[in-house]
Symmetry: C2
Subunit: 353 residues, 2 copies
């Protein structure tokens, strides 16, 4: 009974895990486990890119560390989100998959899910709030996803998705608070530690926590001494929820942060929070101007394209908070996730017209 209650707590009823029960078993105490992440790695291998790790002498000097950048900007769809979406889509039974998948998202998850569904040749129904940038719509339609637009509010998004789900029997794939998605994102850590075994720390941007929790589970299981550090934008006016929740030891409910890191405008979930509570060592809060500086450094010095969210990890490592932290002084080899590279580049190309 105690176990059941515990399981219920970890898999609350609003997350439909029906088709993934097999998966949930592998996930163990949390929404994901090393085993479920290893399964995910095998599952997505034929479809996802094994992304390269890059280094920069300039940024090593600047940070007084050896930095290793895991380039998820080179993942299919231009962001890490494809890992989770792909694992979720290919975890479904044939019968369930045939009815398709559904989600509501205005970000990288929408395009990633459409792409994964397209690879499995099943329908993807994507609810996108009105006013979302055209490039996000394009990423869905060019992968064959079916878009339904709705009024831009969370209740309206959820309602619209529920109606589609009811009508089609499609499986809801939430963007982060969902075991198969967390396990998919965790595959980054498996690869990263294979590529750079000597990592002392991994710094991971956080908002909903799907990427952070997946990486934390895998990295701590493989290398218990490794530090897993969250990099969280403070937003323009607010204290951020991950830092506050970690400090208090309980999930704090705050408004979604108002930050230029548009990929990080979400809140921790019921599955991601317990993992972050138990397995993340520290949270570094990053200011808006630090994100812009880091983004510029990555463009200019590494010659790769990152969206603001993708630069949050480097911003954290270069911040005073990170540099003076006693616990992190011994971390010489620091891994940073460049999590996405999807942004509106039009202002740059305007200059050539």
């Amino acid at each position: 009974m105690a176990l059941l209650r515990r399981l219920l707590l970890k898999f609350p009823s609003e997350v439909r895990c029906g088709p993934c029960l097999k998966y949930s078993t592998a996930a163990g105490e949390y929404g994901a486990s090393l085993e479920s992440i290893q399964e995910a790695a095998t599952r997505i291998r034929p479809y996802a890119n094994r992304t390269p790790v890059m280094t920069s002498d300039y940024l090593n000097d600047l940070s007084s560390r050896n930095l290793f950048f895991k380039c998820e900007i080179f993942q299919k769809g231009g962001a890490f989100k494809f890992r989770g979406g792909c694992n979720a889509v290919f975890s479904l039974s044939e019968e369930t998959a045939a009815k398709g998948v559904v989600t509501h998202s205005s970000g990288n998850h929408a395009g990633a899910l459409a792409l994964a569904a397209n690879m499995r040749k099943i329908p993807a129904f994507i609810v996108i709030p009105e006013g979302a940038p055209q490039c996000k719509l394009d990423a869905v339609t060019e992968n064959g996803g079916k878009i339904t637009q709705c009024f831009p509010s969370v209740p309206e998004r959820e309602k619209t998705a529920a109606i589609i789900q009811e009508k089609t029997g499609a499986t809801m794939i939430p963007p982060y608070n969902y075991g198969p998605v967390i396990s998919g994102q965790g595959t980054m850590a498996l690869e990263f530690l294979e590529q750079v075994a000597e990592l002392d720390a991994i710094v991971v941007p956080v908002s909903g926590g799907g990427m952070l929790s997946g990486i934390a589970i895998a990295a701590k299981a493989l290398k218990p001494a490794i530090k897993v550090i969250a990099a969280e934008p403070s937003g323009k006016n607010e204290a951020p929820d991950v830092a506050l929740s970690k400090a208090r030891g309980e999930l704090v409910d705050l408004p979604v942060p108002d930050t230029i890191a548009d990929g990080l405008r979400a809140k921790l979930g019921s599955l991601t929070w317990p993992i972050i509570r138990d397995h993340v060592d520290d949270v570094v809060i990053v200011k808006e101007e630090e994100i812009i500086v880091a983004m510029k450094l990555i463009f200019e010095r590494m010659k790769v394209v990152v969206e603001p969210s993708g630069a949050v990890g480097l911003a954290a490592v270069l911040s005073n908070q990170f540099q003076v932290c006693e616990d992190l002084k011994a971390c010489k080899n620091v891994g940073i996730i460049l999590c996405g590279g999807n942004l509106d580049l039009e202002p740059l190309f305007q200059t050539y017209k």
Copy 2:
């Protein structure tokens, strides 16, 4: 006597090859040979990056080919120029090197030469015309290069550099019309064919022709059946000189092209022209708007930063001229050099302020 005349033709007196006589011997009939390029590869190996090759399913579909991108944007200094500068600097004898190197350039060669000289711990005297972009000056000064600014005209640049050379005894390292520089650039082809042996063609941006001639020598020596294709911007008003020279079979002297591809505003030289005449299969002329489209595709689909010159190879492959060319129909596996990624990104970051 005939041999001497021939040598004089290949090494005209305005290019001071004094310290490189040993090198010139290895260069054979032209300013460079497979042997001199292989020597260059050994020489620069401890300093230069072996740049990766990237692919893109999207761009493969768009071009109906298998495209392989040699990413010189990830070369030291952000452009292929470091290969030539490094080979030139490390070809010098101890005694000659100690007096330093000198060049006049407002482009990537200036920063690349300063960087190579810095690695050998010798002075680099760089003449830069007034009005050059700040980022080019920064690339020199942050590598310890000594800048002399001058009136922006070719005679003034040459005069200023000659005065410095006279005063310091530094060796002049021209940006492209110089054997050791051509051989350094040729190392790209050695690596590329090691990385992708099945290449049927290599498409190379051209202006002065240092990169194109080095690659042509190496690629044709290693794989005689390979096509080496020049990609040349037409500029805003003019017919381009490489296409015209190839068509006429003689070096045509035209004004420097007015193109957004600022790295390609130069003219063929006395050393590069004979190689291009004899070893380049075809020239594809690229329009300004095609360069912008290609640049955008590379940013958006490959998530890497290229300057306009760096996008000229893809622009050529996507052009109608390339797509309908009978000779190129059989070329399924096409290599493209992404030659540089140094550009002013400020307009992009302005949007976040």
